[in-house]
């Protein structure tokens, strides 16, 4: 029973309208949680992590561990003046950040967020779940192009064009590596992919190692992690923003609430990437002792920490190198992985 069905069964009515209300309430709760996760990890956690990597202290004056900087920053950013530059293409310029934020949130509709107090926190569980989640994750690049082209700024346009080049290079390795786990699971439904990872792979000294696909097929896991870094645009693949080359890329001209939306969408995109990795490679919400929901959040934050680590530790590749890595390296490797996985599944 999904989260939506649990809520709509509490309503006095039934049918499509009750389902819609249930879905809206469920998504409001999940999205609010995601927003607060972004607030904590994006405003506060990011600074602390980067500071730890570069041997600094970062925010520590606002409340305990500087945590109240979250409130201060949220109010500060929302109350900034919105500067609309000369000659921007108005509807597209306004819609760009909206498209990015909404599309990143859309993916969370099908992610199995696990159990909490007996509630299954998955909003919907369609049969084509994995195809849907890949589809929504790539809508964001439309928003990037809209933002880049409509800003009437040369840096923004270069950033938007680079974002397209990056997506062209990494979308196919990402999706092909992602579907290689479907060969094991035999279903695109995310709850079934999670359930298929619950079986025991081997028992080591009485401890049962579950057959998470990261253990079953570590090669696919590594490929997917690399392609996911490019998908969310973090080092070594942050060429669309590239602060030392093109100022801030596609988001150069955004201020005030639009900047907040751009920032929000980037972090939600990273969390969506983490949630996809957790679902198809790390057993979803599975884990000992703690509730499933807590494990899911831990896994998502683990992937987030990995992206921040890469951001601090790895230099950026050039855009032409990125095309070469994508088309002459990862693409071939991802197809080799698919064929190898198919042979192994066939022989077992």
């Amino acid at each position: 029973m999904t989260f939506t069905e649990t809520i709509s069964s509490l309503l006095p009515i039934s049918g499509p309208i009750a389902d819609f209300i249930g879905g809206a309430v469920a998504s409001l709760l999940i999205i609010s949680f995601l927003m607060s996760l972004v607030a904590v990890s994006g405003i506060w956690g990011k600074r602390k992590i980067t500071a730890a990597f570069t041997d600094r202290i970062a925010v520590n004056r606002h409340g305990p561990f500087g945590l109240l900087i979250i409130v201060a920053d949220a109010v500060r950013l929302l109350s900034k003046e919105l500067i609309v530059p000369d000659g921007v293409d108005r509807p597209a310029w306004d819609l760009g950040p909206l498209v990015m934020t909404s599309s990143a949130l859309l993916g969370f509709a099908v992610i199995p967020m696990g159990d909490l107090f007996g509630l299954n926190l998955q909003i919907a569980d369609p049969q084509a779940g994995l195809a849907y989640v890949f589809a929504t994750a790539s809508i964001a690049s439309v928003g990037l192009v809209m933002a880049g082209y409509s800003s009437n700024n040369k840096y923004s346009m270069l950033g938007g064009l680079r974002a397209v080049a990056q997506n062209l290079a990494y979308e196919i390795p990402l999706v092909v590596t992602g579907v290689s786990v479907v060969l094991f699971a035999g279903s695109l439904q995310l709850s079934e992919i999670v359930a298929a990872q619950g079986e025991t792979l081997v028992s080591l000294g009485g401890v049962a190692i579950p057959s998470w696909y990261a253990f079953v097929n570590p090669f696919a896991f590594i490929l997917f992690m690399i392609a996911n870094l490019a998908e969310v645009g973090r080092n070594p693949f942050d060429v669309p923003e590239a602060p030392t080359e093109i100022v801030a890329g596609w988001q150069t001209e955004y201020s005030s609430v639009y900047f907040v939306l751009c920032y929000l969408s980037e972090f939600i995109h990273i969390f969506l990437g983490g949630a996809i990795i957790a679902t198809i490679f790390l057993g979803g919400p599975a884990g000992p002792f703690l509730p499933g929901f807590v494990w899911m959040v831990i896994k998502i934050l683990g992937v987030y920490l990995f992206t921040q680590w890469c951001r601090s530790a790895i230099p950026r590749v050039r855009i032409d190198q990125l095309i070469e890595i994508g088309w002459k390296g990862l693409l071939e490797l991802s197809f080799a992985n698919l064929v190898l996985t198919a042979v192994i599944v066939g022989l077992l």
Partner: protein, 135 residues
């Protein structure tokens, strides 16, 4: 079992309403102080020169064309992966795997052809080739 796409539609509505409400809240509390020069586009503090919407060399257009082909191919691979393990147990590995191997093989040969003809590379501008000796 209700239709899951109703809930996804509900989430889509909420995912649009929340950013829009943030824009509305911000428009209520933010100041507006128009000043001369504030709305100039950012070019590292200089006065902007020239037009942005010029004819621009998209240096990866051949790759974009290749991408369309491979993207459609991944769509065709999706259903095969779903039925694969059932097909192996029902018809044997040869008839489940071989057609897909031929399909991927044809695309692989296509990629090798495109690679040898120089489609899979960043096409540098004439000026970049002069200054760096090839891109």
């Amino acid at each position: 079992m209700s239709n899951p796409w109703i809930a996804i539609g509900a989430l889509a509505v909420v995912a649009i309403v929340i950013p829009v409400s943030m824009i509305v809240v911000s428009s209520l509390i933010r100041p507006s102080v128009p000043e001369q020069g504030k709305t100039a586009v950012y070019e590292s503090g200089e006065i902007p020169t020239g037009d942005t919407r010029i004819r621009f060399n998209i240096q990866y257009y051949m790759i974009a064309l290749l991408f369309v082909i491979f993207d459609i191919e991944t769509v065709l691979i999706f259903p095969w992966t779903v039925i694969y393990s059932d097909a192996v147990s029902q018809f044997g590995m040869g008839s489940a795997l071989l057609p897909m191997l031929i399909f991927i093989g044809v695309l692989g040969i296509g990629l090798v052809w495109a690679w040898r003809n120089g489609a899979v590379r960043w096409i540098g501008s004439d000026r970049a080739r002069e200054t760096t000796g090839g891109a």
